[in-house]
Symmetry: C2
Subunit: 113 residues, 2 copies
């Protein structure tokens, strides 16, 4: 599956979950979980897209139709398990911010995104 790096979200307003993290030393199992969570998130009602990048810090921003969609996804049983393992093993620190996107604009040189 070719994923666009810049999510194709609809006209605002919509919601963003900004997840910023730093990995712990122990990252066994992380890559598989991360791929599975992206796959699973994309199947949830109200999902609009996801963007992520990682070097020293990791930033994943997922976009959602409304707060209720975010609540349902947070409480998904497989996601709960991933959150728990993240706290126990993969992350030394993270922060989650729930934000209402009020305006957006973009630029594309080649019209592909």
């Amino acid at each position: 599956m070719i994923m666009s790096l810049v999510a194709k979200t609809p006209e605002p307003p919509y919601y963003a979950v900004i997840f910023t993290s730093r990995h712990a030393d122990e990252v066994e199992g992380y890559t598989a979980m991360s791929a599975r969570m992206k796959e699973l998130a994309a199947q949830q009602p109200g999902y609009l897209g996801i963007e992520s990048a990682r070097d020293e810090a990791g930033i994943t921003v997922s976009y959602w139709k409304d707060l209720q969609s975010i609540r349902v996804w947070k409480a998904h049983v497989e996601h709960l398990q991933a959150q728990e393992t993240g706290r126990e093993k993969w992350y030394s620190t993270f922060k989650v911010r729930i934000a209402r996107v009020e305006r957006d604009y973009g630029f594309s040189r080649d019209g592909l995104e």
Copy 2:
């Protein structure tokens, strides 16, 4: 200067500017500009913090006290120059989203962040 990877923002509400980009082939001058923009942003009124990560995609999230602070920073003369060169040279595509952070929570294993 040691920068925290996870920005130490105050209690919500505050604002986030989510900047997601893909680089063009031409990135000469980008690293210096990026460092200068981070330094300059941190001097602006209403600046609360910044987080960034880059692999295939780049995501930079800057945090601000209010929309007016974001407007003033967007119109800063050096920042305008960087935005123009970004469109002309460094980015093949980007998207900017202005969002109101309504809630946040975090986790830290070692209490450092």
